[in-house]
């Protein structure tokens, strides 16, 4: 093996040097800070080794917020580059890398972890459980996700980022046409975090099916929990397809196999098919939980139970099935013939039906409700019309023959941002505001929250509506520059202004977290929104054991029934509570996987083999581990309950 420093370097661009310096400074800052304040031990004991679903959830959300800013800076750079004709801010290669990492980060390392974070925090509480079914596996999931994300992020400064689009179509993504290590990073970073996601899928299916409190029948589960259950079934069946696709990509790029090549029998379209067989269900993986979040919020702030519960569940089931048979709508123009396009056109349009059912259920929930316009509710209300625009343009794109006009234009870019941003981003922000007091014991400031809301909602439309028109005028996607004669300039400038406004909105949102942490009054009730479901029946912040007494569920909105119909919820005595103990092995496993990935990216075989053996060693250590956890004695539980507010004692 000849060691060649050149291949690690990324050349040119002052921006990249800037990124390198800021990464270096931030890392030094963190290390110095932790050392000065003597926080290393705290970090290790309380966070890196935790198996508590709430803390894992918080870490997911923190990582997702970071990635939102990383992906957002990518977006700003692209919008700046295209704000006016013939801009010289990014060159073509750099633009390619930026839109690729933007797409990957936003979907895989922002939207999905944000949602997984919320489901970690909320689902065990909503079903009255003490934790997820496999707390340690949960930590493994998180650390694999986290180090996968880190691996992709360092690509920008070490070796170069993937540059063939987030969909990485072959032959473009092959070694021949993308000779940098960028797409090696793609195949390995996604693989590592994808395995973590698959484990999450298994974990939450078991949690929801096996860990529910007594009386919590399936058809009494809160809608968010239902959406999470269905989502995780999709994860379990869709992610293995990605696993295979990424592995084949890795074999093609690292070992010279012929899956997607142009010679020796390879088939480039095979990649496109595999990618979208996973990729379309993936968008439902981020959108179904969002539907669940909106259902909770709309019911709570309308002071009514959710309209059409059964049809909500049924429509999600239908959507999840349909999501597996629509994938070819991503490449109608690739010549697969009328019958195939016709089939996929019809299945795609069919998805609009169950989605429409859900929209009407939300509207009927609102009808005659006593609506309070809190920040999470505002996002939910804004979601309905904006998402509908996204949906209607989706049906336009679904018509195969018409799609020949829209395909790969800015119209498509506008469409998917119109579904993904209200469908996933607004939802996680709404859920973040909604469940924040549960986790931290105080609300976010409403005035600042609404400020951010208006910035985000208005700027979103300013940023993306012009793209519909630009698309119809013929501006294609992934185009790094254009000449003044095209006339694309003014609308792109407007869109850039919208992107800036969005950035301001997100900054206010984060400032709100800071401000509220310092100044907001603590909530002693545990139920600041006068809500309906079980998570609000325990204390805030949530004690590590979740419920001092396991609740006895007798209806669909158990907390509401307790508050208004005097239906008893906690009937048993407080006894000692069994808890799993912390472990550092999941974190170590993540680190070792990170190195394995890194060495494979650069084809450094011997270190890679050593890291691979390291993975096996950590797994063996886990298998030999005999830690049966510990008990919190009853008197300690009572003490904690008294301290936090004493609702259930």
């Amino acid at each position: 093996m000849n060691f060649d420093l050149e291949k690690f370097k990324v050349h040119g661009e002052p921006l990249i040097y800037g990124a390198m310096i800021s990464i270096a400074l931030a890392s030094i800052g963190i290390v110095v800070g932790l050392t000065v304040f003597k926080k290393w031990g705290w970090l290790w004991r309380e966070w890196l080794t935790t198996v508590d679903h709430k803390r894992i959830g918080v870490m997911y959300i923190l990582a997702a917020l970071l990635m939102l800013f990383r992906g957002g800076i990518d977006a700003l750079m692209m919008r700046l580059q295209t704000a006016a004709p013939d801009m010289k801010f990014l060159d073509a290669q750099h633009y390619n890398e930026v839109f690729t990492t933007h797409g990957l980060i936003m979907i895989l390392f922002m939207a999905m972890p944000f949602i997984i974070g919320l489901m970690n925090v909320v689902v065990p509480l909503q079903i009255g459980a003490r934790d997820v079914a496999f707390p340690r596996l949960n930590a493994v999931s998180f650390w694999l996700f986290f180090f996968g994300a880190m691996l992709l992020n360092i690509s920008f400064v070490i070796g170069g980022s993937p540059d063939a689009g987030w969909s990485a179509y072959f032959p473009l993504a092959s070694l021949e046409f993308s000779p940098t290590v960028g797409n090696n990073y793609y195949s390995l970073a996604l693989q590592i975090s994808g395995i973590g996601t698959l484990m999450t899928g298994v974990n939450f299916i078991v949690t929801i099916l096996k860990m529910r409190a007594p009386g919590m029948k399936l058809m009494r589960m809160p809608m968010f929990t239902w959406s999470v259950l269905i989502t995780n079934v999709i994860i379990v069946f869709a992610f293995p397809v990605l696993t295979v696709a990424l592995a084949l990509m890795m074999f093609d790029r690292l070992f010279g196999s012929q899956f997607f090549t142009m010679a020796n029998g390879g088939m480039d379209m095979l990649w496109a098919n595999l990618f979208w067989v996973w990729g379309h269900p993936e968008v439902y993986i981020v959108i179904l939980p969002a539907f669940g979040i909106y259902s909770e919020i709309i019911a709570t702030f309308s002071k009514k139970n959710l309209y059409g519960y059964t049809s909500m569940v049924a429509s999600m089931l239908i959507i999840s099935l349909l999501s597996f048979i629509v994938w070819a709508h991503h490449f109608y123009t690739m010549g697969q013939g009328v019958m195939v396009n016709g089939f996929f056109s019809i299945t795609t349009m069919a998805i609009a039906v169950p989605t429409g059912v859900k929209i009407f259920n939300w509207l009927f929930t609102l009808r005659k409700g006593r609506i309070s316009f809190t920040t999470p509710m505002l996002y939910s209300l804004a979601f309905i019309p904006i998402f509908t625009i996204g949906g209607v343009t989706g049906v336009m794109l679904a018509m195969a023959s018409a799609d020949y006009m829209y395909h790969n234009t800015m119209f498509l870019v506008a469409h998917f941002h119109y579904v993904l941003i209200p469908g996933a981003v607004f939802a996680v922000i709404a859920g973040f505001h909604y469940w924040f007091p549960k986790v931290f014991g105080f609300r976010l400031n409403e005035r600042l929250g609404k400020h951010a809301f208006w910035w985000i909602i208005i700027s979103f439309n300013v940023a993306f509506f012009p793209l519909f028109i630009l698309g119809l005028k013929g501006m294609t996607r992934r185009m790094y520059t254009y000449s003044a004669e095209t006339g694309f300039g003014p609308l792109n400038m407007i869109s850039f202004a919208g992107a800036l406004g969005l950035a301001i909105g997100f900054v206010i949102l984060v400032y709100n977290i800071y401000w509220s942490t310092r100044y907001m009054p603590r909530d002693k009730t545990g139920d600041p929104w006068d809500a309906r479901t079980l998570e609000w029946a325990t204390q805030s912040p949530i004690p590590e054991y979740n419920f001092a007494v396991v609740p006895n569920v007798k209806s669909r909105d158990p907390l509401w029934a307790m508050k208004h119909d005097k239906q008893p919820l906690f009937e048993d005595q407080i006894t000692k509570i069994h808890m799993p103990s912390n472990t550092g092995k999941p974190f170590v496993l993540g680190v070792v996987f990170f190195f394995l990935g890194f060495f494979l990216v650069f084809s450094m075989w011997i270190p890679a083999i050593v890291a691979g053996i390291g993975v096996l060693v950590v797994l063996a250590a886990m298998s030999f581990d005999r830690d049966h956890g510990f008990y919190i004695p009853a008197d300690k539980v009572i003490k904690t309950e008294k301290k936090l507010g004493g609702g259930t004692v």
Partner: protein, 198 residues
């Protein structure tokens, strides 16, 4: 830890029965994984470019031995679980050991098959057909290898601790995994080898 004695030992605690259920869900994902690999194989099976086709490459002899070994090992792991239910630790260890040895034998033949293919000029790089063949067989083989290591770790724990809820649970889950690999092999045997030889 509450142990429910009305159930088989491996299901005895709540966590244990969750683990078994969780493993079934995981096997669902594994089915999706192998289904994808088979699909890739079927798509590429006739694209052998300048390389050999299946009928030129395959020999039935070694494949029959592989099949015999794996199918029998699936039977012996069943016997091991049976012995476990009766608390026969020695018998269980013997059957477990035989299972793993047969797994090792299977791997030995598979590796020598791969070596023969490569010597005949049929490599991962030769054609799309061969790429998909090697990756499909290789993924199954990697599963068997992992199973061997995992099973060995469980055997060591059995020897140290005897049959208790933890080791019984692990052994039972391992047996599910091993049966699953057997099922996958039956598909490989029928649709890759037999169909390829026709």
């Amino acid at each position: 830890m509450k142990v429910d004695t009305s159930k088989p030992l491996e299901y005895g605690t709540h966590e244990n029965s969750n683990r078994i259920f969780g493993f079934w869900v995981f096997l669902g994902a594994e089915i999706a994984l192998f289904a994808t690999l088979f699909t890739v194989f079927f798509v590429l099976v006739n694209r052998f470019a300048d390389g050999p086709s299946g009928s030129e490459l395959f020999e039935i002899g070694p494949v029959l031995i592989e099949t015999f070994l794996l199918l029998t090992s699936s039977f012996t792991i069943g016997l091991a679980v049976h012995a476990m239910r009766h608390q026969y630790k020695r018998a269980m260890l013997v059957f477990f050991g035989i299972t793993l040895l047969m797994g090792l034998g299977f791997l030995g033949i598979e590796i020598s098959e791969f070596v023969t293919y490569v010597h005949e000029g049929a490599t991962l790089q030769t054609s799309a057909f061969l790429s998909s063949l090697f990756v499909l067989l290789g993924t199954h083989g990697a599963h068997v290898t992992f199973g061997f290591l995992w099973g060995a770790a469980i055997m060591i724990q059995l020897m140290r601790e005897g049959i208790n809820p933890a080791t019984a649970n692990k052994s039972f889950i391992f047996s599910l995994y091993w049966h699953f690999l057997d099922v996958v092999w039956i598909f490989i045997f029928s649709f890759v080898y037999l169909k390829g030889l026709m």
